[in-house]
C-alpha cells in the first residue's frame, strides 16, 4: 500500500461511490447549520417532499445576525426585520425537522465554528460541512471540513453525501519555535503573505512541523480557519495527544468503549512518513514577526515594523495598480510605517479569534492598562456563550471592562456588516477577524487584521504597535 497523506486517508474513508470521471460521492458525518445559508435548503426539502437523511448529524445555531448587546428580549429583540426573520426561520426549520438548535439565549449558542469543536460535535476523522467558507476551522481536529453552498446544504440534508472531486495535497511546514508575543494568527497571516490568497487554490493544506505540534488546539483552529484566505477550502492538522485531550469529555464526544475505539482509530490520522504532497511550502517559525494587514486582501500583510509598499517601486503593473487601489480605499500613503496607522476601533472576536485562549492572551496585555482615548470603540465578543462564561469565571471580563472595552454577547459581530455592530466609513480597525475586504466590517470601513495580543496593544496605544514592547 502506498503512503498516504492525512487528506488521502480522510477522503478514502468517506468515498461512497467513485465515478470514472473522478467525481465521487462522499459521505458527510456532520453538518452545522446557521441562519443565513440554510433557509432555501430547508425550503427545497419541503418542496420536494424530502426528509433529512440523518437528523442526528445536524446541529444548528444562529450567529451572523445575532445582536451582541442585550439578549434578554430573545429573537424579538432583533430590530432589523430581515435579520430577525432569518433567525426565526432557523428556529422554525430546526423544530419542524427535529434538528438540535442552540438558539438565542442558550448558553451553548455562538459562532458555528466555535460551537462545533466546543461541543465535541466536531471529531477527528469526520467529514464536516457547513454553509460557510470558514468551515476549514474544524480541520484543526483532524476532520475533513469545508464550506458548501445552499444547494449543497440541501444535498447533504437529503442524502448525507456530497458530489465532489478530490483536491491536491499541499504541506505547509513551519519548523522552529515561535518568538514570545508571536501567535497562531501571525503564523497564518505570514503564510498567506508568502503564498498569496490564491496559493492554496485546489488544494487541501496540511499544516505540519514543530510550530503546529507545539500549538494548542485553539491556535490550530485559528490557523485552519484562514486556510480559505489562502485559497484552500480545507486546512488540516494531524491528530496528536492534544487533540484527544481536547475532545475528551465534551458533550458530543464518544463515551465508554466507543471512546477507546475512537482514540485508537484517531491516532492513525496523520500523514504517513513518506507520503507525497503535490506542493510543499517551508518556513522558519522563529523568524515570524507580529503581522498587520495594511490593504484590502489578507495577502497585503507586513511585519509590524514594516513600511507600506510604494506602487511606484512595484514593477508588475497589475500589482502596482492593486496597491494603489488598496491605498486609496484604506486612506493610507505609500512608505508609511505600519506603526503610524491609527486604531480608531478595536474588535476582538470572530471565528478566527474568539476562543478562551484569545481572551486570555488579550487580557494579559490589557491588565492594569487603559484603552487610549483615541479609540472610539473597543469590542470584546466571545465566540460562544460558554466561552463567555469561562472568561467571566476567570475574571477576564473585568480586565476588558476596566480597560475600557465593551464586553459583549456571542455572535459574529463586527466580523461582517450583517448585524448591528458595524465599522463606520473611513475608520481604521484593529480586528482579529479574517477578512479585510472592502466594506467587510461596514461600508467604507478600514480593516487591519491582527492577533488578539496585537489588537489589545493597539487599543492601549491608539495606533498599531509591536506587542512585544507591551509584554
Amino acid at each position: 500500500m502506498s503512503a498516504k497523506t492525512l487528506y488521502d486517508k480522510l477522503w478514502d474513508a468517506h468515498v461512497v461511490r467513485q465515478e470514472d470521471d473522478g467525481t465521487a460521492l462522499i459521505y458527510i458525518d456532520r453538518q452545522l447549520l446557521h441562519e443565513v445559508t440554510s433557509p432555501q435548503a430547508f425550503e427545497g426539502l419541503r418542496m420536494a417532499n424530502r426528509k433529512p437523511w440523518r437528523i442526528d448529524t445536524n446541529l444548528a445555531t444562529p450567529d451572523h445576525n445575532v445582536p451582541t448587546t442585550d439578549l434578554t428580549g430573545g429573537v424579538a429583540s432583533i430590530t432589523d426585520p430581515v435579520s430577525r426573520i432569518q433567525v426565526e426561520t432557523l428556529g422554525m426549520n430546526a423544530r419542524e425537522f427535529g434538528i438540535t438548535e442552540f438558539g438565542m439565549g442558550d448558553i451553548r449558542q455562538g459562532i458555528v465554528h466555535v460551537v462545533g469543536p466546543e461541543e465535541g460535535a466536531t471529531l477527528p476523522g469526520m467529514t464536516l460541512v457547513c454553509g460557510d467558507s470558514h468551515t476549514a476551522t474544524h480541520g484543526a481536529l483532524g476532520a475533513l471540513a469545508h464550506g458548501v453552498g445552499t444547494s449543497e446544504v440541501e444535498h447533504v440534508l437529503a442524502t448525507q453525501c456530497l458530489i465532489q472531486k478530490k483536491m491536491k495535497n499541499m504541506l505547509v511546514k513551519v519548523e522552529g519555535q515561535l518568538q514570545p508575543g508571536v501567535s497562531p494568527k501571525d503564523v497564518v497571516l505570514a503564510i498567506i503573505g508568502k503564498i498569496g490568497t490564491a496559493g492554496g487554490n485546489g488544494h487541501a493544506i496540511e499544516f505540519g512541523g514543530q510550530v503546529f505540534r507545539d500549538m494548542s488546539i485553539e491556535g490550530r483552529m485559528t490557523v485552519c480557519n484562514m486556510a480559505i484566505e489562502a485559497g484552500a477550502r480545507v486546512g488540516l492538522v494531524a491528530v496528536d495527544d492534544k487533540t484527544v485531550e481536547y475532545v475528551q469529555g465534551r458533550p458530543y464526544a464518544p463515551k465508554g468503549d466507543d471512546w477507546d475505539a475512537a482514540v485508537t482509530a484517531w491516532m492513525d490520522l496523520k500523514s504517513d512518513e513518506d507520503a507525497e504532497f503535490d506542493t510543499v511550502v517551508e518556513m522558519d517559525g522563529s523568524k515570524i514577526e507580529p503581522q498587520v494587514t495594511w490593504g484590502t486582501s489578507p495577502e497585503m500583510v507586513l511585519d509590524v515594523n514594516g513600511i507600506i509598499p510604494d506602487p511606484e517601486k512595484e514593477t508588475d503593473p497589475v500589482k502596482a495598480d492593486g496597491i494603489r487601489r488598496a491605498l486609496t480605499y484604506m486612506g493610507l500613503e505609500a512608505n508609511t510605517p505600519i506603526k503610524d496607522i491609527p486604531a480608531e476601533y478595536v474588535f476582538i472576536g470572530s471565528c478566527t479569534n474568539s476562543r478562551i485562549e484569545d481572551f486570555r492572551a488579550a487580557a494579559a496585555v490589557l491588565k492594569g492598562k487603559k484603552v487610549s482615548d483615541k479609540v472610539e470603540q473597543a469590542l470584546a465578543v466571545p465566540g460562544s456563550g460558554l466561552v463567555k462564561q469561562q472568561a467571566e469565571q476567570e475574571g477576564l471580563d473585568k480586565i476588558f471592562i476596566e480597560a475600557g472595552f465593551e464586553w459583549r454577547n456571542p455572535g459574529c459581530s463586527m466580523c461582517l456588516a450583517m448585524n448591528a455592530d458595524k465599522l463606520p466609513t473611513g475608520k481604521h480597525c484593529a480586528s482579529t477577524s479574517n477578512r479585510n475586504f472592502e466594506g467587510r466590517q461596514g461600508a467604507g470601513g478600514r480593516t487591519h487584521l491582527v492577533s488578539p495580543e496585537m489588537a489589545a496593544a493597539a487599543a492601549v496605544a491608539g495606533h498599531f504597535v509591536d506587542v512585544r514592547d507591551y509584554l
Partner: protein, 214 residues
C-alpha cells in the same frame, strides 16, 4: 423534481429581447428566505401599476392591463415564448424559481443567457432554443390565434403545433435524462441510495461512535 415527459399548454408571448433576471424578479424580493412564492412577483414591474415590496398583498395591487400575462387569453399559460438572450443579468436562482412558481415549465427562445439556462434545468424548467425564423413564425401564430397551444414532447424532442406540424429541438442528453426521470442532483444521488446505506452499514462497524446519536 417532477418528471417532464410531454405536455400541452397555452403559450404566452414575451415579445422583447434581453429580458434580464432583474425584470424577471426585481431585487427587493431576494431577501426572502424561501424559494417558493415568487410567482406573484414574476415580472413585477411590468405586471403591476405600483412598486411591489416583499410584504405587499399582491392580490390587491392594480394590474397593468396591457401586460401580456394579465390578458385573459393567456391565463393558464405554461409555455413562455421569448426573444433572444432571455435571462441575462445576475446569476440569481430566484429567476427560474419565479417562472416555475408562476407555472411556466417551458421557455422557448432563439437564445438564452448561460447561467440562467443551466439554472432552468436545475429547477425543472425546459429551455428550448429554436431558430430565430421559427420563433418569429411562432410569435405570429400565437398572436393570430386565441387559445394557441403547443405540445412539447421531451421524449421525442419535438414540438407539435395545433395543425400537426412538428418542430425538432436539441437538448443535452444528460439534462434530458434528468428531466425525463424527474432527477435533480439530489434525485441523482438518491439513485445510489443502496450504496449510501451499504457505506453506512460498513462504517457502523469501523466507527460506531459516529452513529451513536446525540
Amino acid at each position: 423534481m417532477e418528471k417532464f415527459v410531454k405536455m400541452t399548454a397555452i403559450v404566452a408571448p414575451m415579445d422583447r429581447a434581453n429580458v434580464d433576471t432583474d425584470a424577471i424578479i426585481p431585487k427587493q424580493f431576494l431577501k426572502s428566505i424561501k424559494r417558493s412564492g415568487f410567482g406573484p412577483n414574476l415580472f413585477d414591474e411590468w405586471r403591476y401599476e405600483d412598486v411591489g415590496e416583499p410584504d405587499s398583498d399582491n392580490s390587491k395591487r392594480p394590474l397593468r392591463k396591457d401586460f401580456v400575462l394579465n390578458q385573459e387569453r393567456y391565463q393558464g399559460a405554461k409555455i413562455l415564448l421569448a426573444r433572444e438572450n432571455f435571462g441575462c443579468g445576475s446569476s440569481r436562482e430566484h429567476a427560474p424559481w419565479a417562472l416555475k412558481d408562476y407555472g411556466f415549465d417551458v421557455v422557448i427562445a432563439p437564445s438564452f443567457a448561460d447561467i440562467f439556462f443551466n439554472n432552468c434545468f436545475k429547477n425543472g424548467i425546459l429551455p428550448i432554443v429554436l431558430d430565430e425564423s421559427i420563433v418569429d413564425s411562432l410569435f405570429d401564430e400565437v398572436h393570430a390565434q386565441e387559445g394557441y397551444e403547443l405540445t412539447v414532447d421531451l421524449d421525442k424532442q419535438v414540438i407539435v403545433k395545433p395543425n400537426g406540424e412538428t418542430i425538432r429541438f436539441e437538448v443535452d442528453s444528460f439534462r434530458r435524462h434528468c428531466l425525463l426521470n424527474g432527477l435533480d442532483d439530489i434525485g441523482l444521488t438518491l439513485q445510489h441510495e443502496a450504496d449510501i446505506k451499504a457505506y453506512e452499514e460498513k462504517r457502523k462497524q469501523t466507527a460506531p461512535w459516529l452513529f451513536a446519536g446525540k
